[in-house]
């Protein structure tokens, strides 16, 4: 009993020590070359029920969300070599909304085992259909009528860009990447990302973009006590 407590205290101390000495990995992702033009989602505009929820504006596809200076959003940056350290079971649930017959957000990253709660904000029926490709992840398809309670999903095995789709509205997609540790981030509109508290060491870091770099662009870095930086360019040839 006492021994266990001592060990637990030691383990806690070790974690605290590691956190204290761990640094943040920051960086920026930009687009090289020109992205193809986005398309209007015409079937959404033409749909009898969903079209009414738009308030005039016709949404476009969001494959390359690029800023004025080529900053690229929706890039998933993952530190490699830390596999098997998922804290997903204890993490707060990630949220996916279905609003005006689109998924928000369309690019999401979570930890393996983390809960993903899917909400239906629309007055129409959606079905949330996951189409995984990694072994260990099971395909699910659940209807969610207007006002129905949130659905909960979780992804047991690591997978990049697992497709969530709605079969009722065939233009609705979300792409969820599951990582089996907490050391990842998704770039914002400014192309920047921050991965907090990476234990010091040498790593490979990969930047994934669903269209521009589906298999990723890699970089080697060393994280020291004061952190590290890594910038990426996703080339569109």
């Amino acid at each position: 009993m006492k021994l266990n407590q001592t060990l637990a205290a030691l383990a806690g101390f070790a974690v605290a020590l590691q956190l204290a000495s761990a640094g943040n990995l920051t960086g920026k992702v930009t687009l090289g070359g020109n992205a193809p033009a986005e398309k209007e989602i015409t079937p959404l505009k033409d749909d009898a029920t969903c079209g009414k929820l738009l308030g005039g504006a016709v949404p476009k596809t969001k494959f390359f969300v690029v800023g004025a200076n080529k900053e690229l959003a929706d890039v998933i940056v993952i530190v490699k070599g830390l596999e098997g350290k998922s804290t997903g079971a204890a993490a707060a649930p990630a949220a996916l909304d279905q609003k005006a017959c689109e998924y928000i957000p369309q690019i999401l990253a979570v930890q393996t085992g983390q809960k993903i709660s899917v909400k239906n904000s629309d007055p129409v029926m959606h079905n949330v259909h996951t189409v995984p490709t990694a072994a260990g992840n099971k395909e699910e398809n659940k209807g969610q009528g207007p006002g129905a309670p949130d659905l909960t999903f979780s992804i047991p095995a690591a997978e990049n860009f697992l497709k969530f789709k709605c079969d009722v509205h065939p233009w609705m997609f979300a792409w969820v990447t599951a990582v089996d540790h907490p050391y990842f981030a998704v770039t914002g509109k400014d192309g920047a990302f921050t991965i907090k508290d990476v234990p010091p060491g040498k790593y490979k870091v990969v930047a994934l973009h669903r269209k521009g770099a589906p298999t990723g662009v890699e970089k080697e870095i060393e994280v020291k006590a004061d952190g590290a930086t890594a910038d990426f360019v996703i080339e569109v040839k």
Binding site: A48, C50, T61, F63, K163, D167, V168, P170
Partner: protein
């Protein structure tokens, strides 16, 4: 000698038209990519399918998928009634039983969720079938051939319903890395057109023209002299071309059920080339450049190859049908059909090109499916007529034959 039953023939034609509409509705489901919009079967979102509330049904892909299911159930009933009708007055009892079963199952379900809607739907069908039994099958049975075909139609329509259901239920199951939803979707799409051909054959064989042409004293024109000498080669060409169209259907169904959109986005060129680059880097770059709105599966080299094959086979079909029409141009019984066929193929080529230029717009792609089905049916009926012509001609007198040869020489 049997008296021609024109109501039966009209009913058979009506069933063909209803089935053509059903093929179109099924085509829309696949064109929109909404085969899974109702994720359960035989229930619909947990309801008995006739009880699915209308408010749920009229949105997005549920509309296409659920309408397809309801329409399919109508075609199922039409087919069973047609089958009974072909069996003549003996089958009246079967129809009465069918009506009573429908009526009782309507009444039985009234307390289920949204049961009134379902009960009305099923019950009204029961009443219609019951009323129909007072008027319809008072005729003698049709020929044995027709009765067998009618029996097959019922078997195929039931099998087709089951395949459609399995396409939904087994959608995510993998066999050798291929989704069963894809496999069953392809089989369901191809068998649908086979079923349409079967019904069209029944319609043709119940027609006045078919039953009387070639008979002594027939009021309808039989073939002129040319039929006999040309028939062997014409028959072969009709058969070959129809089989080629069937092969094209298999290729097309495989393409459509990839749910990957256009494998090649331009026509008549392919990615700006006569023959596109199918290397891994090229395919990756095609995928990167694609901006797909609904079809999110990446395209593959296999799909590009399939699309090129589809284009080549289309060209061969055009040549073959042209040849059939040329060979048939002097043969009374089949001339019109052959030229209608050629017209359909021209329309079909146009629709194929438009499918690409419209970036696979769902309505255009579906029209391409429907005209494809019509081309297959026309070819199949052409085969049947040219084969029948042979048997009829063969039984004609020998004296006719020498005249035939003479006349043929003159015309050539």
């Amino acid at each position: 000698m049997t008296v021609h039953n024109s109501s039966l023939h009209r009913f058979a034609v009506f069933t063909v038209l209803a089935t053509l509409g059903l093929v179109g509705m099924g085509g829309l489901v696949t064109s929109h990519g909404v085969g899974m919009a109702v994720p359960d079967w035989p229930t619909s979102y947990g309801y008995n399918m006739f009880a699915l509330p209308i408010s749920t049904w009229l949105t997005g892909g549920i509309f296409h998928e659920h309408t397809h299911r309801l329409w399919a159930s109508e075609v199922g009933i039409l087919t069973i009634v047609l089958n009974c009708w072909l069996f003549g007055k003996k089958s009246r009892r079967v129809l009465i039983a069918l009506g009573i079963v429908l009526l009782l199952s309507g009444i039985a379900g009234i307390n289920r969720p949204n049961g009134l809607q379902s009960s009305l739907h099923i019950g009204i069908h029961g009443v219609i079938v019951l009323i129909a039994t007072f008027f319809w099958p008072r005729c003698e049975p049709a020929s044995r051939q027709l009765r067998v075909l009618g029996g097959w139609a019922t078997v195929v329509v039931l099998l087709q319903g089951l395949l459609g259901g399995l396409r939904v239920v087994l959608d995510s199951q993998l066999v050798a890395d291929v989704r069963l939803g894809t496999v069953f979707g392809i089989v369901h799409g191809c068998l649908a057109q086979g079923f349409l051909v079967l019904l069209a054959v029944i319609s043709l064989m119940t027609s006045r023209w078919w039953q009387f042409s070639g008979r002594a004293g027939s009021p309808l024109p039989a073939d002129g002299a040319h039929g006999v000498t040309r028939s062997t080669s014409l028959r072969r060409w009709f058969l070959f071309t129809t089989l080629l169209i069937f092969v094209q259907l298999l290729i097309a169904a495989t393409m459509r059920h990839q749910h990957a959109g256009l494998a090649i986005a331009d026509f008549p060129l392919a990615y700006g080339e006569i023959w596109p680059d199918m290397s891994a880097e090229a395919v990756a770059s095609y995928n990167l450049r694609r901006v797909e709105v609904t079809t999110s599966n990446p395209i593959t080299a296999f799909q590009i190859g399939l699309q090129m094959t589809h284009r080549i086979v289309a060209f061969l079909i055009l040549l073959a049908v042209w040849l059939c029409a040329w060979k048939a141009r002097t043969i009374q019984s089949i001339k019109t059909l052959a030229f209608v066929w050629l017209g359909l193929i021209f329309i079909q080529v146009g629709l194929g090109a438009w499918t690409i230029w419209s970036n696979k717009a769902a309505d255009v792609a579906t029209a391409h499916v429907v005209v494809g089905a019509l081309s297959l049916v026309t070819g199949a009926l052409g085969c049947l007529i040219s084969f029948k012509r042979k048997t009829v001609s063969a039984s004609a007198s020998v004296v006719d034959f020498s005249e035939t040869k003479m006349a043929d020489r003159v015309s050539v």
